[in-house]
């Protein structure tokens, strides 16, 4: 009986050893992590509201392969981002650079905020000016005092 248990256990060990080779990750996790980090910052051009990391489009798949290969070849993150913008322009970047063509994009909201504040300020000022302060007459004052004293 002991021998049988031993054989069973031993064969189980081999079984897991055999399975282990299939369970190995396909790619180096460090490379995958860098690839993920880069592709999260890039737009997929086929389905424009998805990142390159999430997209299932065949082009996105090939671009991930391309980036993986460049990481293996020792390229820096900056070089890989430049590789993407050289081909697809700043449009691929989810975080576009601040430059002459993107000033409106970056500063437009703040300009709108300033404009809105100015309009609101003027409006409130003019409204205050429109309210006439009329002093109470002697009769009104007496009535107010009577009402206040009632309680």
């Amino acid at each position: 009986m002991k021998r049988l248990t031993f054989i069973v256990l031993a064969s189980l060990c081999f079984a897991t050893a055999l399975l282990a080779q299939f369970a190995q990750p396909l790619e180096d996790p460090a490379i995958e992590a860098r690839m993920k980090n880069l592709t999260r910052q890039l737009r997929c051009l086929v389905c424009q509201n998805e990142t390159l990391a999430d997209s299932q489009a065949p082009l996105a798949e090939d671009l991930r392969r391309e980036i993986r290969e460049q990481i293996k070849a020792g390229r820096t993150d900056q070089e890989i981002m430049a590789y993407a913008t050289q081909r697809y322009g700043d449009f691929v970047l989810y975080n576009p650079p601040v430059k002459a063509t993107t000033y409106l994009l970056w500063f437009g909201p703040f300009v709108l905020l300033l404009l809105g504040t100015a309009v609101l300020y003027r409006y409130l000022k003019r409204r205050r000016e429109l309210i006439e302060v009329v002093p109470l007459t002697a009769e009104e004052r007496r009535r107010a005092e009577r009402l206040l004293n009632e309680t």
Partner: protein
């Protein structure tokens, strides 16, 4: 003072009008201006579709004004464009080089499919090359086939068409520009 009440309404209608104009007449948001226009065409050396032992490189086209058309048998808009290309090729105005490509996830036999496509629908290409893993198409920033590049004698990209080259684009953009570049 009372008239001020209508200002937000007026602004609203102006915005609606502006959005409508852009929606109806504005450019397609899928058309991304290529950073490659007016830059040197990326170099390539690819095997020819019909004879893999022969290759064609971008340099081989030096001294000519030519069109580079990216297509594939898997691409529906390419099917739409194809008869138009056949018509343009008959005019003998500009040599068209075709790049038949596919994505690496596509395991079908694109080369065979492309050869029978050209026999069936006519061959508008001076030469067709085959980009098996889509690497050259990535170098050219192709994201929605068909895409067509007009390249000048010195190898600089002068114009890019995303989507089919319609008769309007052919007669009003490509032909006049090619004429000017050939001078």
């Amino acid at each position: 003072m009372k008239r001020l009440v209508f200002i937000p309404l007026v602004i609203f209608f102006v915005m609606v009008a502006a959005f409508l104009v852009v929606l109806v007449r504005g450019r397609d948001p899928h058309e991304i201006p290529s950073p490659l226009v007016n830059k040197a065409a990326p170099s390539f050396q690819l095997p020819q579709l019909h004879d893999p032992t022969k290759t064609l490189s971008a340099n081989d086209m030096r001294g000519k004004v030519w069109l580079l058309n990216f297509w594939g048998t898997w691409c529906i808009a390419c099917r739409e464009e194809h008869p138009m290309l056949v018509e343009y090729a008959k005019q003998n105005a500009i040599p068209i080089v075709g790049v038949d490509y596919k994505y690496s996830s596509d395991t079908s036999d694109e080369r065979t499919a492309a050869i029978s496509w050209l026999t069936e629908f006519g061959n508008p290409y001076a030469i067709t090359v085959y980009d098996d893993e889509g690497r050259i198409s990535i170098d050219y920033g192709v994201y929605g086939a068909p895409e067509t590049f007009l390249i000048d004698k010195t190898g600089v990209i002068r114009f890019k068409q995303i989507g089919p080259v319609t008769p309007d684009v052919w007669t009003n953009k490509i032909l006049p520009l090619a004429k000017e570049l050939n001078r």
